[in-house]
């Protein structure tokens, strides 16, 4: 890392979250606000919707909160602005140094898993920032969820600072600091409650829109080839009607399963998705006219059931990547069982739809 203080140049003019500067033997360190303004709040909402998520960062480097001196604690965090904001908003009344690592704009836990919130980056940055000249102690307080990326014993060897793992949630930091750096069991435990699951739903929906549009396109094409309806506009309208069960499967996989997670039977996400995912297809079998399938035979209706079930099940299985408790081994096992049925049902469904469309075309 060339000059670890080059980040200061990136902070001219100073953003709203910098309220001043404090002179230290090593550099003029920016003092950050512990209050979030409307810009910060809208930024948080936008990234939860997938907007601007690739570039929502703060420059990695050293910052101050309150009026820290050489005895003040050093808190380490990631350069994802959502993370940075979550931390500073809990530090009112605290005097501390904040060391922001370059995690490429990714939050602590994901970055730790990937290795970017890692031993090398931590030790490298602490050394480059010359932190030893700033504080008279040698303790770095890290978020507990940084642990998958940090070998605490190695950090000491590399930069002479001892890693102490703080609580999982920033909200508990004050209690942690004022209790002589002791965390309770609950402070060290990760949950996955409704509120947390709900906050993941918008991104799940947005990330999976493209394939869903492609599917709509294919259905439209098949309806046009079949020549079932007169004119493009009525074909488009009928396709939209046909598409409702697919849309339902999409919502089941991206929203309903995540929201109702603990209440849905089975531990397997593919099965949770399948269980609920059979419903749209079932409705098509029971009320075909409602979705524009009144004139279609059983192969088409079966195809809708198969394809929508696969959509709901796969999207549910994919949600495992966003949970706080599923394991890679578990997802591997799920995929081992689910992949062939997904491919078989998906292809068979497509074949039935295409065959129906082509046979109508030929008549």
């Amino acid at each position: 890392m060339k000059n670890a203080y080059d980040y200061l140049k990136l902070l001219e003019p100073a953003p709203a979250w910098i309220t001043g500067y404090t002179e230290t033997p090593i550099a003029r360190i920016p003092v950050i606000s512990t209050e979030l303004d409307s810009f910060d709040r809208t930024g948080s909402i936008k990234v939860r919707l997938g907007i601007g998520r690739d570039n929502y960062t703060v420059p990695p480097g050293l910052y101050a909160v309150g009026k820290p001196d050489n005895t003040s604690p050093v808190l380490v965090t990631a350069n994802y602005k959502l993370t940075f904001d979550s931390l500073r908003s809990e530090l009112e009344g605290v005097n501390a140094w904040i060391a922001v690592l370059d995690t490429k704009g990714i939050n602590v836990w994901c970055a730790a898993g990937k290795g970017t919130f890692g031993t090398a980056e931590l030790a490298g940055r602490i050394n480059a920032l010359r932190l030893r000249r700033l504080v008279s102690h040698n303790v770095l307080i890290l978020p507990q969820l940084g642990a998958p990326g940090i070998a605490a014993h190695e950090v000491f060897r590399l930069c002479g600072f001892k890693v102490v793992y703080g609580p999982v949630r920033a909200a508990d930091i004050k209690d942690f600091l004022f209790n002589d750096m002791k965390a309770t069991e609950e402070m060290r435990r990760v949950y996955f409650g409704l509120h947390e699951r709900a906050s993941l739903v918008p991104i799940e929906l947005i990330h999976n829109i493209k394939p869903m549009l492609v599917i709509f396109g294919i259905l439209l094409l098949l309806n046009l080839i079949a020549g079932k309806y007169t004119g493009f506009v009525s074909t488009l309208g009928m396709t939209a009607l046909n598409y409702i069960p697919y849309l339902a499967a999409f919502i089941i996989g991206c929203a309903i399963v995540p929201l109702l997670l603990p209440r849905i039977p089975f531990r397997s996400f593919a099965l949770k998705g399948l269980l609920l995912g059979l419903l749209p297809g079932l409705f098509v079998l029971l009320f075909p006219g409602a979705f524009g399938y009144a004139e279609d035979g059983w192969p088409v209706k079966l195809a809708v059931l198969m394809i929508t079930s696969v959509i709901a099940s796969f999207l549910s299985l994919n949600f495992t990547g966003s949970t706080t408790y599923t394991s890679l081994s578990g997802v591997r096992k799920e995929m081992k069982y689910a992949l062939k049925p997904y491919i078989a049902a998906g292809l068979l469904g497509l074949v039935f739809l295409a065959a129906d469309s082509i046979s109508r075309f030929l008549n």
């Binding site: 969820l145 998958p148 940090i150 997670l261 495992t320 966003s322 599923t326 394991s327 995929m335």
Partner: protein, 101 residues
């Protein structure tokens, strides 16, 4: 309503002989499945392990091992098709290619 995932899949292994009783693993586990028992670490509920790797990474005695990796379905598929470890790279994430996260 405790959320539990699949049974008997976790790759978490603890070698009691190597354990030096430093307690780091008991500190970092996000699901609190490692506790101390007679001066050594002990796994209480292996099925609650999410294979995050925090314990193994912080064991100075290399007494714990676990297979870590990106655990989402698309990453697993990516790995299967490209015959690599699960990954969310499309092209190359590090070269600015668009990954998922």
């Amino acid at each position: 309503m405790k959320l539990r995932y699949l049974k008997n899949v976790s790759t978490l292994e603890l070698d009691k002989e190597k354990c030096i009783g430093c307690e780091m693993c008991t500190l970092v586990c996000p699901h609190r499945i490692l506790v101390m028992n007679e001066g050594k670490a002990f796994i209480t509920d292996k099925d609650l392990c999410m294979e995050c790797g925090a314990c193994a990474k912080n064991c100075p005695a290399s007494a714990i091992s676990v297979q870590v990796g990106v655990g989402c379905a698309i990453a697993v598929l990516n790995g299967l098709f490209r015959k690599t470890a699960p990954n969310c790279d499309s092209g190359s994430l590090l070269k600015g290619g668009k990954g998922c996260c």
